[in-house]
Amino acid sequence: MTSSAINDRTEQMEIDASAKWPVLVFFGSALFWLLLGGVLQLVASIQLHTPAFLSDCVWFTHGRIAPAAQNALVYGWGMNAAFAFGLWLMARLSATTLRHGGWLFVAAKFWNIGVTLGILGILGGYSTSFELLEMPRFVTLILLAAYALIGVWSVTTFSIRNTENVFASQWYLFGAAFWFPWLYAIAQVMLFKAPVRGVLQPVVNAWYVHGLYGLWFIPIAIAAAYYLLPKVLGKPIANYYLAPLAFWWLAIATAFAGGSRLIGAPVPVWIPTLGVVANFLLVVPVVIIALNLFGTLAGSYRALRGSVTLRFVLISMLGFVLASVFNLALSLRGFAELAQFTLLAALRDWLIFYACFSTAMFGAAYFMLPRLTEREWRSPAMVRAHLGATVVGVVLLTGGLAAGGWEQGRLLLNAEVSFGAITHAMTLWYTLQSVGLGVLIVGHLAFLLNFIWIACPFNSRRTAPAEFRHPPDLELAKAPEGHA
């Protein structure tokens, strides 16, 4: 081992030590919401095939519990996990410690108070009924203030970087750090503070929802893949010179693609048309990113056996490609005619949020947490259970929602079929959806147990390795361009 490699390792340990507690707090909160949101989502799904389930209490009526579940998952699990991973990765890639981490605890506290109040607000009847903006208005300021602290930390860490190069993951993290607050603030102003009239409201809403998925969750997932693949495999990103092109192209095209959610809606027809064109343009960056990532993985598929991180990242990459293909399909008028308003439309967002983003965060956690806590995962069986449940759940839900949505769309298009008959035909698919969501919850529970073991400060036992192969040697292998 050369002396510079040893220096690098010491530096990384310092960075990890500075990020340890903020990351654990954010990730712990994220897992709490993942479980709670998952249970709410399961309840909402059960209500679709067993309508009497929990229907007597207004707090748990389907129209409230479904958006509450979605918000808990997106703002509770998704955002907290992205904060945890984003802050740590930004510090590592900028080769600088995360300074004054105490402020991040304050931010985490406020963010989670905001989400809690928001979910209670939705369940208590203060929903705004705008997709992913259902939380009552008073929560907005709490969330924005908390986010300001977190975003500023990420950007400051980037601006005091000690590295010459800026790596691809940093572009995506940096971009996402700015895009989310802008999207959120603009949507809040245009829908609530100075509301626009008529169908402009759904236009703003579609722009926000598409932006949140495409310019926040997808960039974070891509940042994870660009970082973890070369780290674990010990080789640089293939065709890296194309990556900047993909970044800019993806950002600009995604920003314009929101209108594609409004095909056939009573809005000026150029709005969905522009969205459709943007979605077609997205083919280029998706192909480049796939070339980068799968090109790096090519020839090293054997490494999948050794690393649970790599397996989750592979699921995430497949999820990204599938979600992109699906997004494109939903832009075709013929397919949209059948698919919009059915389970197929829900599948697009689920693929981005769960199959692409959430699995990337799981992969990142399996890499990051042992390094932060300097411990091993305690139970390899739980790791396998989590991975297995994720694979089974993702396959079940993707297949089930796709087939069920197809059936639903086909029946809806046939005006001869009564609505009661459609509901009857859908019962099977709703039941399958509940099963899939239940399987995922089992995996999340296994993950939570392992997380508690690794994060709990009173547990001083260093336990058996759950990584199938010990990775630190790999970490010091040839660092890809721009790596700290």
Binding site: D56, E134, E164, F174, W182, Q201, L262, T423
Partner: protein, 225 residues
Amino acid sequence: MKNGLALFLGVFLALALSWTGLLLTAHEQIGGLAQYKDPVDETLYPLPMSGLADEGRLVYQDLGCVTCHTQQVRREGFGSDIARKWGVRGGYARDYIRDKTVFLGTSRTGPDLRNVGARLGDTARPDEYEEWFYKLLYAPQSVAPGTNMPAHAFLFDVHPTAGRQPSDKAIKLPARFAPPAGIEVVPTARARALVAYLQGLKDTYDYPIEKSRNANAEPPKEGGH
């Protein structure tokens, strides 16, 4: 890419462009859309909703009805909305300017509701239709067998009639769904507002200017010059 400032400017421009190009442009185009005055009956359309119906809009919003119901009728030739009698024509942007909150919706777990006020269910008269909605909300299966809509019993006051004048607003349910004798089911103010809102949902007026603007171009006649 090494320059932080260039990265920032690019990131900023990407979103700023879409905001001006998409949202501001759309606002410029239809933000000032006004009611249309019919030249014959000199009435402004779309008609505003009643005060009670506007309260009902808030009930619709807080119960999250938009989770399962859209409020948009796709035009003839795109989907089966017209054939399903969810409306007599596709929706126009102008229809929505009276709505303080627009619930276009993204899911059709339940049927579209944009013209539910004009449909009359399977009843003959508007007052029967009101009752039909109450039954639907209290015990969905009583009027829509096979539906997976949850019951909204919390919108009703269920109490014994003993020692009090029976309410003239109590709903009459089929025996299977009715409470035991001596107990009546009375819609609360929230239920009445919600039903007023639902009954107010109808886009039956067809705007001559929208009709001409949105009509499909006639296919060219053969041999004509």
